[in-house]
């Protein structure tokens, strides 16, 4: 049985937008950090180190932001089982951070 295609759906579009925007920001920060490195001055080195670290931070946080967005989208649609799954994923990631901060 086939039905007419209706893609992309609204939820997928929102998630795609978040991931595309986050990837662009992360890449731009790391690229700017790399370009600041060869400047050689103290300011250039500070920029180089901090921009690179923030860029990596953006990449680590981006999938977590995607999970939170999915939680909101599922709650709005009253899909409570899937919202609970998103909440559990978020808690597991937070637990990993907690263990990391402890050690």
């Amino acid at each position: 049985m086939t039905v007419r295609a209706t893609h992309p759906r609204r939820d997928e579009q929102i998630l795609g937008w978040l991931l595309a925007a986050g990837t662009s920001v992360g890449c731009a920060l790391i690229a700017l950090g790399l370009l600041a490195g060869p400047v050689g001055s103290t300011g250039g080195n500070v920029l180089h180190n901090s921009l690179g670290r923030v860029g990596i931070g953006v990449f680590v946080l981006l999938p977590t932001a995607r999970v939170i967005l999915m939680l909101v989208l599922f709650l709005r649609k009253r899909e409570y089982l899937l919202a609970a799954a998103a909440w559990v994923v978020f808690v597991i990631i937070a637990l990993g951070c907690f263990f990391g901060a402890l050690s």
């Binding site: 295609a5 997928e12 991931l19 990596i56 990449f59 981006l62 799954a85 951070c97 990391g100």
Partner: protein, 284 residues
């Protein structure tokens, strides 16, 4: 370029990720051996950098897959419960596993990936499952077929088996800094019986969250070296884009044969390095 310098890292990551992109797989399986064997970077630093590159590649490729309507996001969030739990277990275990054991495990995964690359993925014919909680068809969906411009419906079967395999994939992903396609592909194709296009897209969509569970722990324990991970992540995104473009112009079957041989050779070199033999010496 000096091995280990930022521009060397950027160049090899573009190359490794382009190879991965051409083969439709994550680049971690190439990046970790290249960094450890040729860049003389410690395996834990290489794994940390690779985790960031896996996240970057997954996030970069997800928007186009989502716009095409291929990933099953409802199923993905449930499977991510298992993969993130596995990844958290993996990072907690990583501190207790000696470097030699990690290298041997990596060798096994590389050989399995090479073998998987040579074999063709077969579409498993869905079987109508009996009733029960997991057969309520709550994850059944459809994907668009660009040829007929129609929605092709499919069923999701054997979710508990799929989740158990996904837990294992999460452990391996965090331990070795790879996307674990070697476990995810059989879990999705054979256990859940998803169509190949849906299984590839859903796996790719999930890889970022799985790696983030391991990477957030590693970031806080300072296992991730920004000077290595930054250029590797940027190079991986650029390489994945390049690989996807090249993929449209070449015959992927010949490429698979060639790269399975490359992967097997890297696996042998890594195995020898684990025992202090071969042409390369590893950093601690």
């Amino acid at each position: 370029m000096v091995p280990g310098s930022e521009f060397w890292l950027l160049a090899v990551s573009i190359l490794a990720s382009a190879l991965g992109g051409m083969l439709g797989m994550a680049s971690g399986i190439f990046i970790v051996p290249i960094l450890t064997l040729f860049g003389h970077i410690g395996i834990h630093t290489a794994i940390g950098a690779s985790l960031i590159s896996v996240i970057a590649c997954s996030c970069a490729s997800a928007p186009s897959l989502l716009n095409a309507g291929l990933p099953n996001i409802r199923l993905a969030i449930v499977l991510e419960v298992a993969t993130t739990a596995g990844a958290t277990t993996g990072v907690l275990l990583a501190g207790f596993i000696p470097m030699q054991a990690l290298l041997i495990l990596f060798t096994v995964i590389m050989l399995l990936s090479a073998w998987q690359m040579v074999g063709r993925r077969r579409q498993v014919v869905p079987v109508v499952a009996p009733g029960g909680f997991w057969a309520t068809r709550r994850f059944d969906a459809s994907y668009p077929d660009p040829v007929s411009n129609a929605e092709i419906p499919y069923r999701v079967d054997r979710l508990p088996l799929g989740m158990a395999m996904m837990y294992g994939a999460g452990v391996i992903s965090a331990l070795l800094g790879i996307g674990s396609g070697v476990l995810k592909i059989p879990a999705m194709d054979s256990a859940l019986r998803l169509p190949i296009k849906v299984s590839s897209a859903t796996s790719n969509y999930m890889i970022g969250v799985t790696a983030a569970a391991g990477a957030s722990y590693s970031l806080l324990t300072k296992t991730i070296n920004a000077d290595v991970a930054g250029p590797v992540a940027l190079g991986s995104v650029l390489g994945a884009m390049l690989g996807a473009r090249i993929l449209m112009r070449i015959d992927p079957e010949r490429l698979r044969m060639l790269f399975s041989v490359v992967l097997a050779a890297l696996a042998v070199e890594m195995f020898l390095a684990a025992f202090g033999m071969g042409g390369t010496r590893l950093a601690g």
